[in-house]
């Protein structure tokens, strides 16, 4: 176990160490220890200001995609998972079949046709082309569905109905609270997926204006290999560090909640 923890943490340690180095000492010093001038602050300033501060713009885009995309995905999955768990309705078996079948389809296989469709609808190169596909999380739907079966007692819903509460009012005032651990687990997974999304924005966006951090960082990295491009490895490394700090923070902060949601909801 100790070996595995070292294996998991070593690259992250490497990242922290090397984001303190200038571009020259990156090349001249041992990779796993600090060396030369402590340039972390300069690197951060450099990352945030390079090319008129495009990093900050990408950060804002990423936040937008996460708030609308992951938030929307979690909301839709929660509504639908709850609906599947607590109601019987015509076509329910069909919904299961289609959604479960979709999980087996490689997401990347959908990307090219989705791009062509969106380009005919005039959506490519807009934030919508990134946000709309991230609104669907079949895994999230599955998780909420299992979780709702177990944690929302039907008696409570019956009681609310007898008191004359509408279904949506019951959902928002009573059920949602009981669903909270499952909801937060799904939120965490969709946030991670949207924050880390690379393939979809890479295809959909042709101008850097709407890039998220992932695509932007890779464009900085690829810049070194193009003719006449400026190598900015120190900024790529520091930018990588800045990209993972918020998501790792969210992870550690929310771990208490998602772990309870996962063990109740997972893999029955």
């Amino acid at each position: 176990m100790g070996v595995m923890a070292v294996y998991a943490l070593l690259p992250l340690f490497w990242l922290v160490v090397n984001s303190t180095k200038t571009q020259t000492s990156l090349f001249s010093s041992f990779g796993l220890w600090f060396s030369g001038d402590f340039a972390l602050w300069d690197n951060i300033v450099g990352t945030l200001t390079y090319n008129d501060g495009e990093f900050l713009r990408w950060l804002a885009n990423t936040v937008l995609y996460v708030v609308v995309g992951a938030g929307g995905a979690t909301f839709l999955a929660t509504l639908a998972g709850y609906g599947l768990a607590k109601f019987d309705f015509p076509g329910k078996r069909g919904v299961f079949a289609v959604v479960l079948g979709a999980v087996a389809i490689p997401g990347t296989a959908l990307a090219v046709p989705t791009f062509l469709m969106f380009s005919q609808m005039g959506l490519t190169n807009t934030p919508w082309s990134v946000i709309i596909p991230s609104l669907i999380s079949p895994f999230g739907l599955y998780l909420v569905w299992i979780y709702a079966l177990e944690s929302v007692p039907t008696e409570v819903l019956e009681a609310a109905r007898m008191d004359g509460a509408g279904e949506f009012r019951t959902f928002f005032t009573i059920s949602l609270r009981m669903l909270a651990p499952g909801f937060i687990t799904v939120l965490l997974f969709t946030v991670v997926a949207t924050w880390n999304n690379y393939f979809l924005p890479l295809i959909m966006l042709s101008q850097s204006t709407w890039y998220p951090l992932t695509v932007g960082l890779n464009s900085w990295n690829a810049q070194a290999t193009t003719a006449g491009g400026e190598a900015i490895y120190n900024l790529v490394i520091t930018g990588s560090l800045l990209t993972i700090v918020p998501i790792v923070g969210a992870f550690l902060f929310l771990q208490r909640f998602w772990q309870s949601g996962l063990s109740a909801g997972s893999v029955k």
């Binding site: 490497w14 609906g83 296989a109 880390n196």
Partner: protein
Amino acid sequence: MTTTSPVADALPSVRSRKTAGRWMGWAFVGPFMAVFLLVFVAPVLYAFYLSLFQNQMVGGDKFVGGANYFQALGDPQFWDSVIRVALFLVVQVPIMLFLALFAALALDSGRLRASSFFRISVFLPYAVPAVVATLMWGFIYGPRFGLFGSINDFFGLNLAEPLSSSWILASIGNINTWEFTGYNMLIFYSALKVIPAELYEAANLDGAGTFRVIRSIKLPSIRGAIGIASIFSVIGSFQLFNEPNILKALAPNSISSYFTPNMYAFNLSFAGQQFNYAAAISIIMGVLTVVVAYVVQISGSRKDA
């Protein structure tokens, strides 16, 4: 109408049908399904439609039936990429799942000090974007200022170069293992957590040792979780794209434009404008993935039965 019955818990949906409107469920499921149709179902149908046409220099799109599919079946570059991901799958997935299982069993044994520290640190790489993970490992691999370069310089060695064409697949496998071991560990661990304590008590009475408990109770109980993790990993391997595509900037000579089927389809579309042919390749890979995932599921459940 609303009297409670003893079986209410077991059959919640049957009962709610009587009280709520018959179509009420659609009010909850509908919004999800509407977006789902737009981003899942419509693209699949559209890809199938596209795959039946060819773009002609003169005269635009022409219906060609299965011609794109026949072309793919005889395309050495396509088969090259398929064989590469198949090799990747056969080696990387078992290693990763074995490590994840080992870690989950160690956490569950209750003998580990600081187990929550281990759990979170092994899981942490999952939160790291594939782009950042690949850039980090790519730099570590790199001969110029990477760790391997430093080690070679320091000891005057000439160790294998991870970015050379003979090692590149293993190097990508390492990145994937690093990213997803913790995720699979968590799936196994949460499945182990819900094993009823009575089973362990019974085993104790029968005098079963740790190893026996693992073999006879723990592994059979989490068979479903192992199956799901295997299928997700199989799907993931066939979709391999991010890591090789990003590494390409650091190792342009080791990674071709048809390194994996997905990269091939991507480059056909966006560098070659061959959308119809790319659509056919996507469909073939979709079908192949479903078939392989299905075979894995069947063989998995037969082995343990």
